[in-house]
Subunit: 670 residues, 2 copies
């Protein structure tokens, strides 16, 4: 949208209506005053720098788009150095630039892989090069024919005793590395995952540092075929990233480029496993997935911010005698679709905050050789990754639809947000595969109840399974649904009953795996019920803490109930079929929900202001802070390349002959 003269605030009236302290809510959302300050400062640096302009992104061709991204990445790095930013600040600045690029993989995957899997010596050699960006790395794991199943990878790394080297090779087309970001056109190095073979023996998949391109002229090294895998969903979106294809034709690397922290190959070709616990790998997974949950709350809140503001600006129908039409946000049907998403954004934010704590806890335990909570923590993060990203992907598209026709324009910001977000549902663990892992953990939890082993953490409600199987919901009027204990017990009972019923069904089938397969559809439902319970319970826990600011806790309490009761409505089949609630109670929940929507309504705009997003970050004609939507839409339209000329290219060849009835058949013209 570029710079603009400050105009009237069309949403001022909405902001006056708010019943809480927005600046205090900003702190609650950011996590702390300090985090708010850093995010805010980084966002402003980016927003005020014309190099980081992104409103033209959807109109650029792939090459132009990509080059522009390289420019931004270089400029961001330059600013990070000039401003002496800390690692935390640098990472927030990159997030504010809001454009996927090779840097994400370099900092987010390549460096952590070396840190996690490299020996001290390897770290000493490679990390300084990487941190100064003398080399650029990516993470080459998935293959054309192999995604989620890492054990199915085909790329081989065969140890050659004579030369003390590994020979990296792609034996088939389906073994081509495929998808790694930053690989296609930019990375000079990669951590490559390949089957380690020594003396003809296959030791499974291991990581290797492989140089891909010349550091002098960037040309691919001998034996390496490399390129981009092609255009992806959306305008701009992930097309700023060079997801790549890579094939090895017997490429040789020195033995010391196998990442050897966990297992080694010695000079004489012996394979040895070190005493570093493999569990560390799960610690990394917990870290990556908790950050995905954080990002889900950001992406969802961004879409909700746009949709809430535009719903307050937009008017339609219901005009009384030639007066203004009604604000769209005043329609109950709009509220019932929009406000649960607003509540979800807050819910995900708080569960993400808790996951940060969980990660710290797991790390400390791992260091003390305590692996007892790891399966629970792993299931919990896998499940929340799946739940929050699925809801966010669908939620962004729902917000787009809630903006009516104009949401379909790229200038609304929503199409690009959707297209850039959706891969999150597939990468770092396909969401469906994740839910099945959670379900397996729950089935194990259920089956070990008899053994007296107490369930831990987010699964500890199973210790009260006996009570939960027979408790009665204590709701007699709509206001009973405002009690956190009532909500919590309903969600616990639902999850426990579904899990135990499913375990019973599976136990009837003699072969356990066959049982899992036969009831996998039910297992997915069980996992979802469990994960929703986690989010609800962490929201409730959050509200037990001190949250400063006038009216802040009160409005969050309303949002918490909206989150829980809208889920209860959506999944009423679960609650009713397990007898956790009766039809009358379901109907009282709906009644309460309608009333809660009315309570959120006056706070809606202030609740999205609390996300503290700049207009640059939102990049949306519809979501502007000042609500000045229509003139902006109009101005943006004229920037489209099709408007470069009044008469379009192609008129002379393809339109005029039509109009003038001068179509000659091609045969004649040839």
């Amino acid at each position: 949208m570029g710079e603009m003269v400050v105009r009237v605030d069309h949403l001022a009236e909405e902001r006056r209506k708010a019943q809480f302290d927005v600046s205090a809510m900003k702190v609650a959302w950011a996590g702390s005053r300090r985090e708010l300050e850093i995010s805010d400062r980084m966002a402003r640096i980016v927003a005020s720098d014309p190099v980081f302009r992104k409103d033209n992104r959807a109109m650029l061709g792939r090459k132009e788009l990509f080059k522009n991204t390289l420019k931004k990445a270089e400029h961001a790095w330059r600013r990070i150095i000039e401003l002496h930013l800390t690692e935390e600040e640098a990472s927030k600045l990159r997030a504010a630039v809001d454009e996927p690029c090779y840097m994400d993989l370099h900092w987010g995957m390549f460096i952590p892989a070396i840190k996690g899997q490299g020996t001290d010596e390897q770290q000493k050699k490679w990390l300084p090069l990487a941190k100064k960006m003398q080399i650029i790395g990516c993470y080459a794991q998935t293959e054309l024919g192999h995604g989620s199943n890492v054990q199915g990878l085909e790329t081989s790394a065969t140890f050659d005793l004579k030369s003390d080297e590994f020979v990296i090779h792609s034996p088939t087309l389906s073994s081509s590395k495929w998808w790694p970001g930053g690989l296609g056109k930019i990375s000079t190095h990669a951590v490559v995952y390949a089957r380690l073979i020594t003396n003809g023996e296959d030791h499974g998949v291991h990581g290797f540092i492989v140089q891909l391109r010349s550091l002098d002229d960037h040309s691919p090294l001998p034996g390496i075929t490399i390129g981009d895998i092609g255009t992806k969903f959306g305008n701009g979106a992930y097309n700023t990233m060079d997801n790549g294809v890579l094939q090895f034709d017997n490429v040789r690397i020195p033995r010391d480029q196998m990442l050897m922290r966990i297992s080694q190959v010695t000079r004489d070709g012996k394979y040895m496993v070190s005493n570093v616990p493999r569990h560390l790998v799960y610690g990394t997974m917990v870290f990556v997935r908790q950050s995905i949950v954080q990002d889900a709350s950001i992406a969802l809140s961004r879409a909700v911010c746009i949709a809430v503001r535009y719903s307050a600006v937009r008017r339609q129908f219901g005009s009384q005698k030639g007066g203004l039409e009604s604000q769209v946000i005043d329609y109950k049907t709009q509220q019932s679709r929009l406000l649960p998403l607003l509540a979800s954004a807050y819910a995900f934010r708080f569960v993400g905050e808790w996951l940060k704590w969980l990660y710290t806890d797991v790390t400390q335990r791992l260091q003390a050789n305590d692996f007892s909570t790891l399966p629970e923590a792993h299931a919990c993060t896998a499940g929340l990754k799946s739940l929050t990203t699925s809801v966010t992907a669908n939620g962004i598209e729902e917000c787009r639809k809630l903006c009516g026709g104009h949401g379909y324009l790229c200038s609304s910001g929503l199409p690009e947000l959707f297209a850039v977000y959706v891969p999150t549902c597939t990468y770092e663990g396909d969401n469906n595969v994740m839910l099945l892992q959670v379900a397996r953990f729950l089935m194990k939890t259920v089956s070990s109840l008899a053994s007296g082993k107490p369930p831990v953490g987010t699964a500890s409600y199973f210790a009260r399974a006996q009570h939960l199987m027979q408790c009665n919901c204590e709701v007699h009027n709509a206001d009973d649904w405002l009690k956190p204990s009532v909500i919590l017990e309903a969600f616990e009972a639902r999850a426990a009953r579904m899990a135990i019923a499913c375990a019973k069904n599976i136990s009837k089938i003699s072969d356990l795996e066959e049982g899992f397969s036969e009831f996998s559809i039910d297992l997915v439902d069980v996992a979802v019920a469990h994960c929703q319970l986690i989010v609800v319970s962490k929201f409730i826990e959050k509200l037990k803490q001190d949250i400063p600011g006038n009216g802040v806790k009160e409005v969050l309490q309303v949002l918490c109930c909206v989150y829980a009761l809208s889920l209860l409505h959506k999944h009423s089949g679960d609650f009713l079929s397990t007898g956790c609630i009766n039809p009358k109670q379901a109907s009282l929940a709906n009644e309460q929900l309608r009333s809660l929507y009315s309570q959120v309504r006056p706070n809606a705009v202030a609740l999205v202001d609390s996300f503290n997003y700049t207009d640059h970050y939102l990049n949306s004609t519809l979501g502007r802070y000042d609500g000045n939507v229509y003139p902006t839409l109009y101005e943006e339209a004229w920037k489209d390349p099709l408007n470069d000329t009044v008469v379009p290219d192609g008129y002379q060849e393809y339109i005029r002959p039509l109009l003038k009835q001068q179509l000659t058949s091609r045969a004649t013209r040839l």
Copy 2:
């Protein structure tokens, strides 16, 4: 994907498994042997003509893309003339070209508007010009600030008695025409909707034929500001269309360019309404919406075709001792997401077929001045438009996710299919607004039950309301759920009970409009229940007819049950809370559903082959008929513009300085 040497059929084994006659199913899908023959012939003409190539669409910049579309449109028109195609054939050929362009609006909206609203004289003057394409027209209704609410339009057409002209004017920014397809760069004429003002009196919105551009050099006529509204969601997709913005600065047109079939302005400025029934407008709506339902089944079946074939090709996990991994389509969780969509595609096809009949019936009745069925037919088409397009939009995205990571590549065909489809949920009646209209119709139906007026058509089950309010579901074992009568009664009881409960709630509020508003969320659910019942019942009716071909009817019966029972599972909260079924019966439905999935499984590939789509039409690396997915993905990747050079543009400026630690601060360099 261009031409390719015929290779092995990787899906041959799948095709051998089929238990029905595919060629007979093709006829059942197409509606008749004749329709199959025409579609097939048109699809082949398009697929074999290199001008209609579309595999490069996602990589083109907007201008290049648009020019290419103009070329295709001109070429299609040329072929239509050369081959002396009938109107039906021509329309199927354009559909096979599969690229939105100005022709759609010219043939689909401009010409029908003149036919429907023009006097005989006006038709005689304008239709020959339009049909020969000596003029190109579009349909300029929606405005920047006004979408669904046609009565809120602001553009004015003021009669000037002195000159016998109308003065067309855009009084505000928000009155700019906005969205009309074909308007931005191509149309020479438009049917413009504007408030008719004579003698200072506002007669509401009427249609006017307005010339926009010079027929000599295509430049906009004086007083007309016109352009494209900018880039839309997706690569290719609807960016081939010049959706436009248009402003009038006191543009004058002769009086006889007001479309005067329904109302006239005389030479002396008198406004008169003719005796042609206004109901005709609803007839047109019924027509447009039934064709949208047809298109929904096509778009959904196309996505399902890609996802089913690729799910049969793709293997993941579950390999036994180094053998092949399992086909993804064999996983129950994949089946539970994919097969209900396959069933929905067939269900929508058949309900679309029935809607064609309904349109004929309505038209005949209108001609006989019988308006009795019009409200029911209108509600029915509005509701089915909403239901089928929402399911289709979500279903395409679900199919994309079911293809894993590769579904995110444009070459899968799914991102573009989604992006080009989603506006259907908004245009021709926003889906949510449509459902509220249906709900109002249902509330009226309920309230007139007491009056003894019998409900008609798809609402006639309300005549049995008393029975439906108290009937008990007769399901005792899983096989009882295979009985059409049992399914039908459950769906009827659910819809009736929800509608009647809602009507009761509304009646408690003294102001009817307030009641509608307060319970609008429930009203939407009522409308959905009613519409799902229609689809289920029309599928069941279809199966009572003769359907030739070995095994054809049998497999359709299985699909019909999959459709109904998967809905019952998804909405079990409705069925349980209204007491239409009990928890045990819900669980038996799920059991039956699992067994039905196994019955569909061997027929899945043959069921999508029956859609008879060419590889050109699918335009998908993953959905190829021969299942040769991975080599095709690999070949396609190299065609991306980023692969034009080995070292990417931008390396010298933005990558090399990084690697060589030669970042000089901008300040120094300036």
